[in-house]
């Protein structure tokens, strides 16, 4: 069969199945599944979703941990023109409920214990994995295992590249997390671009080490699908499991965030004794690798032939720039934190505050133009207009036809065209690859009922990006154990990366002239001891 042009995720699936139906697509623990399995089970589950009332354009939540079922669920939703919404597995019930309500998820595919934590009638229908649910989260329940074995089949032809493909939840500098509405075209072009510069082929054995709700983590699935390669699902974040997966499966490509490499380096002795000869490339995203760790990684891996790619990107436009293996040396602090040049098929502009293109060396905001620019933030017009703006350099005749993404990151460009990351002016916190707004942390602290005022901010720590620090005042004064109770509340109701590393108590928090809590003043005071 001739390959189909690549418009949607299921075109990628169709091509992989046509090329080799018996090729292993996904390995989950001890089980392997072929592309034929992926085709059949995603079609059956897609038909079951449609039977439960899901229509084109609807959102389908995926609350199962990274697994064969999660992969099938994404394609099943996609095949009926619905958008899948992968939920961060570290989320606790309050975050899941927020997300379900924010983008109106009526149907969710989830692990039973996670579904049972949700409030009554959060969903119309839940497809559960595991034991039969005991909670009241959904009006009706369907076993996902049975749905995947069903006789129904989808009609794929009705979906176009302009349709909504997925919503990726991410935090910004203010407010609660926003859903980045991402089209089928964004997903497919993203897979084309990344698999082009990583040179993926059907022979690749790609490790999925990042969560699927993270744009860069979903990318291993889409690039592997496009290449017709084999994807190995790794849920564990511990170094022993990472090593075993790399060796046992002879992994050829791994993408991760800086804390993962810190774990890899911990095993430097075993890598020196037994080099990872199969590992063709390692790609970093989600923040800078501390220079000492990068040097060590290069030293450990490059002699055995592993190539290191450094990527920079934001969910709003998937990936933006990268440094190819022979240019990784440019990323050092002495060279000025170079983030490379634009990924293929993409233009990166540096725009000054007065809307001009910056001269070499001049500071400006990184602005991304290209086919991975997403559709905007779901249901949030104000935020969308702020980040997704008309191309400032378009000829007047084309004004406002094309939207580009304003990243919020301050950068500069040198004479050779290389870009350098300088920082951010807003309050966004980046911890272990996760983006957080101060308000999310503050709201979580306030919801304990023990906190009167809260102020959260990030403090640089090369090992994790930034530590989350909170300064609070208490409702009823400090009794013994109050801070412990607050901490316990935060841990129970939020993901680990949202838990402040330190919580300081003041009688009252300083305010700005307009009466708001003076976050900048408080964080500066903390920085100055």
């Amino acid at each position: 069969m001739r390959p189909r042009p690549e418009f949607t995720l299921h075109d990628l699936l169709y091509n992989a199945v046509s090329r080799d139906p018996d090729k292993v697509a996904v390995v989950d623990g001890d089980a392997s599944y072929t592309y034929e399995d992926l085709e059949r089970e995603s079609s059956a589950l897609g038909a079951a979703l449609a039977d439960s009332g899901v229509k084109g354009g609807d959102r389908v939540g995926v609350l199962v941990e990274k697994s064969w079922e999660a992969i099938v669920a994404m394609l099943a939703a996609s095949r009926i023109g619905a958008a899948y919404v992968n939920v961060n597995p570290l989320f606790k019930a309050p975050q899941v409920e927020y997300l379900a309500s924010d983008c109106d998820v009526r149907v969710m595919i989830g692990d039973t214990p996670k579904l049972d934590e949700l409030g009554p009638k959060t969903l119309d229908t839940a497809f559960y994995r595991g034991a039969e649910p005991e909670g009241q989260a959904a009006g009706s329940y369907v076993a996902v295992a049975e749905a995947m074995k069903g006789e129904g089949r989808t009609e794929d032809s009705k979906v176009s590249e302009s349709d909504l493909g997925t919503i990726l939840y991410t935090s910004g500098s203010t407010g609660m997390p926003k859903g980045v509405a991402t089209s089928q075209r964004n997903l497919v072009v993203g897979a084309q671009i990344v698999s082009t510069y990583l040179e993926n082929t059907p022979e690749d054995r790609i490790l999925s080490a990042l969560p699927l709700n993270f744009d860069a983590g979903m990318s291993q699935f889409t690039t592997s699908l496009r290449a017709g390669a084999t994807l190995y699902l790794l849920r564990s974040r511990l170094p022993g499991d990472l090593f075993k997966a790399l060796r046992r499966h002879e992994i050829t490509g791994v993408t991760g965030v800086p804390p993962l490499w810190a774990l890899l380096i911990r095993g430097s002795k075993s890598i020196r004794d037994k080099p990872l000869r199969h590992l063709r490339y390692l790609a970093n995203t989600g923040g800078r690798i501390p220079q000492a760790n990068l040097d060590e990684l290069r030293h450990l891996l490059e002699p055995a032939g592993t190539k290191i790619f450094l990527m920079y990107g934001l969910t709003e436009a998937f990936r933006s720039t990268y440094l190819a293996p022979d240019e990784v040396w440019r990323s050092s602090p002495e060279q000025g934190n170079c983030i490379g040049k634009a990924i293929p098929n993409t233009e990166i502009m540096v725009i000054t505050k007065d809307g001009r293109e910056a001269a070499p060396g001049e500071h400006g905001e990184l602005v991304h133009r290209g086919p991975t620019v997403a559709m905007g933030y779901w249901g949030n017009e104000e935020a969308t207009r702020k980040a997704y703006r008309p191309n400032p350099l378009a000829p007047p005749e084309l004004l406002d036809v094309e939207r580009v993404v304003y990243s919020g990151d301050t950068v500069k460009r040198d004479e050779e065209g290389y870009l350098y990351f300088l920082g951010r002016e807003d309050a966004m916190i980046k911890n272990q690859g996760y983006r957080l707004s101060p308000e999310e942390v503050e709201n979580l602290l306030l919801s304990s009922g023990l906190v009167h005022e809260a102020c959260a901010f990030g403090v640089e720590n090369p090992a994790v990006g930034q530590d989350v620090i909170a300064v609070i005042s208490l409702r009823n004064g400090a009794e013994d154990g109050t801070i412990d109770r607050i901490r316990e509340h935060v841990i129970k109701n939020g993901p680990p990366y949202m838990v402040p590393k330190e919580i300081f108590v003041e009688d009252e928090l300083p305010k700005t002239g307009s009466g708001k809590i003076d976050r900048k003043g408080i964080s500066n005071a903390y920085a100055n001891g």
Binding site: L238, G240, F243, K244, Q432, R485, E488, P495
Partner: protein, 83 residues
Amino acid sequence: MVSSNTDARSAIRGWLQENVTGGREVPNEEPLIDNGVMTSLQTVELVVFLEDTFGIVVEDEEFDEENFGSVEAIARLVESKAA
């Protein structure tokens, strides 16, 4: 360094209480990884604590979810090494 017959379970629970859970007592069988109790970086800190406290060395391959899934599992690993 304390002697190897120190109760590993209570030492691990104490460390978790102090460094991870904000004072909450962690039952020996509670899943630490699946429930997202510990981040991977905290697990690395825990290994350093175990190595210092019990005078053991945790090999890279042993540093996995099977051995670090609960207080009970970690204690068994420590005991097998200290024995």
